[in-house]
């Protein structure tokens, strides 16, 4: 691909006829060759965005370039493989025949089908009807159909949705393999660990707007607040001492562990004080802001904030 951006949107907006503003002034820039996680809670506008990028929905405003061409155009679609929402195939056809149908739509030879079925580990069940497939097999067939065109850009919408742990691990491995082939992957998900383990960069969408973008580490460091985690016994005495020392509002007990909102550099003095007072400190460490914490902060609705 000559261009360095695989996906670029400017002010992309979609308001449905019902009046719902699903995507609002979205600006994205996805580099070629990266795995981009598109993260957001359910209803945030992820699937609507992916549908617009695939040419299924017409934007209300704004513009987009997908694989160097306008979404839904033949030029864009020929370089794009996508699985948007649940993989949809003909239930009366086998997995192989479904891929044959898709290959015919693309005007491609069916020669690649065997290799792709093998890549997604569906070769053995390829002659069985799609309606007999498990959720994991359906997801894998969806990825197979997306790979059929040998695309430069792959859009996968919640690819691990409905999969068991084994299937999830296999899907992650498949995405890693696809990345290693040099393709750009845009992966939408609401599962944080999936994004954390798979993606080079992450965009967080909430209420139709992009609220944060960066690497996982960059997002983690966005929040300046730090926490010390302390486990000490007896817990009641420890709590009393910590509250006297730091103030009630800075100490929170959860699951037998104290979450203390102070600079981690104070860990030594806090430890010394606890030990001096005859308490047994079994754990004391700085807590790294998890992606989950950042995600919750970024996507918190005004109602939730109260």
């Amino acid at each position: 691909m000559a261009q360095s951006l695989a996906v670029e949107t400017h002010g992309l907006t979609k308001r449905y006829r019902t009046g719902v503003l699903a995507v609002n002034d979205l600006n994205l820039a996805i580099q070629s060759g990266e795995v981009y996680g598109f993260l957001g809670p359910n209803g945030a506008g992820k699937t609507t965005t992916l549908r617009m990028l695939s040419g299924l929905l017409h934007p209300t405003a704004g513009s987009a370039t997908v694989a160097g061409a306008s979404p839904g155009s033949s030029a864009s679609l020929s370089r794009l493989g996508a699985m948007v929402e649940t993989p949809a195939f003909y239930p009366y056809l086998s997995g192989r025949d479904n891929l044959r149908v898709m290959a015919r739509y693309c005007g491609f030879s069916v020669n690649r089908i065997d290799a792709i079925l093998k890549q997604v580990d569906l070769a053995e069940r390829s002659r069985h009807k799609f309606k007999t497939y498990s959720t994991g097999m359906k997801q894998r067939l969806g990825v197979a159909a997306a790979l059929l065109k040998d695309p430069q850009l792959l859009i996968l919408d919640e690819p691990t949705s409905g999969l068991d742990p084994q299937g999830t691990v296999e899907m992650r491995a498949l995405i890693a393999e696809i990345k290693n082939e040099g393709r750009t992957v845009m992966l939408s998900s609401h599962l944080l660990n999936e994004v954390e383990l798979t993606c080079d960069r992450v965009g967080v969408i909430a209420r139709g707007r992009l609220v944060a973008e960066g690497t996982v580490d960059e997002l983690r460091s966005r929040s300046g607040t730090s926490t010390l985690l302390v486990r000490a016994t007896p817990a009641d005495r420890a709590q009393k001492l910590l509250e006297e020392l730091l103030g009630k509002d800075k100490v929170r007990l959860a699951s037998g562990q104290f979450h203390i909102s102070v600079d981690p550099s104070q860990a030594g003095s806090i430890n010394r004080r606890l030990v001096t007072d005859g308490l047994e400190v079994t754990e004391l460490r700085a807590s790294e802001q998890s992606l989950e914490d950042v995600f919750l902060q970024l996507t918190e609705t005004p109602e939730r904030k109260g």
């Binding site: 839904g72 929402e85 898709m102």
Partner: protein, 279 residues
């Protein structure tokens, strides 16, 4: 478009529902259009009254009347089956949401739609051929069983009859597909299409055919126009009991049906191109 056409052919060929529909159509044609008619006219029930003797009426199923017998037989049942087939073909894509999977492939919306239209046109052509062939075979067997003599119409009449049949089946298929596009629901497309066919075309068209005022409106309906075309292929005998009012000429009927065909295709394409998918 050719790529889409090839994909559609594979889907249609592998779909059992299509084979069942064609099978039902052919069985009804042979049983109702030929075998039962022949049995009744050969052994008329007691009290059977007709200005035309049964020995003449049974010529309806002989080769000489092949074209009018097929066209009259297909007017309703052929229309119903093709509405279902067209509706299934389009609306199922929305029901299974496979339309999303297709549109994400390469061809583009209009190519997808015209590929489907071509495949349905081919299907209606093949159904027309099957109907003609089976009717010819059945009428030939029946005339042999009867020991009578009857010859097939001249090639020109057969070709014209075939053209009339294909046009009508194609229009009803396009109607079913149009409803599938408009409603995006298999039940609504088929239910709506069959309700229209049986209530408006058959019931209202049959009862109010001679009612002044309404008659002028009826002249615009596809079924009434198909009936006008079919009337240009008369039986070889005159049956005063079976006379119905023909509202339009064959030429007007043909023009109207072609107009409907173009309308369904053009308006269907506009709808398909402009509407969001998966909204």
């Amino acid at each position: 478009m050719i790529a889409s056409f090839n994909a559609e052919r594979l889907k249609m060929r592998k779909r059992w529902a299509n084979w069942i529909l064609v099978g039902v159509l052919l069985v009804i044609l042979v049983l109702l259009g030929y075998v039962i008619t022949y049995v009744i006219f050969t052994n008329p029930p007691k009290g059977f009254r007709s200005e035309v003797p049964p020995s003449v009426l049974k010529k309806e199923v002989f080769p000489e009347n092949m074209v009018p017998n097929i066209l009259v037989g297909m007017e309703t049942i052929g229309a119903a089956i093709m509405i279902i087939m067209g509706g299934l073909s389009m609306a199922s894509e929305f029901g299974w949401t496979t339309i999303q999977t297709i549109l994400i492939q390469k061809p583009g919306r209009l190519a997808v739609l015209f590929g489907k239209l071509l495949a349905l046109a081919l299907t209606s052509l093949l159904v027309s051929i099957a109907v003609m062939a089976l009717a010819a075979l059945t009428s030939y067997i029946l005339v042999q069983i009867d020991g009578s003599s009857s010859s097939f119409p001249p090639a020109e009449a057969l070709l014209k009859g075939f053209g009339a049949l294909w046009l009508q089946l194609a229009v009803w298929t396009a109607f079913g597909m149009f409803l599938g596009l408009a409603f995006r629901s298999t039940a609504a497309a088929i239910g709506g299409g069959l309700t229209y066919l049986f209530v408006i075309e058959s019931l209202v068209g049959g009862l109010f055919r001679n009612t002044a005022g309404l008659k002028e409106v009826l002249k615009f309906l596809p079924g009434i126009n198909a009936n006008g075309i079919n009337a240009t292929f008369p039986y070889t005998y005159r049956n005063p009991n079976a006379v119905t009012t023909v509202l339009v000429s064959g030429t007007r009927g043909s023009i109207t049906l072609i107009t409907y065909l173009v309308f369904f295709v053009v308006v269907g394409a506009l709808i398909f191109r402009s509407r969001d998918v998966g909204a």
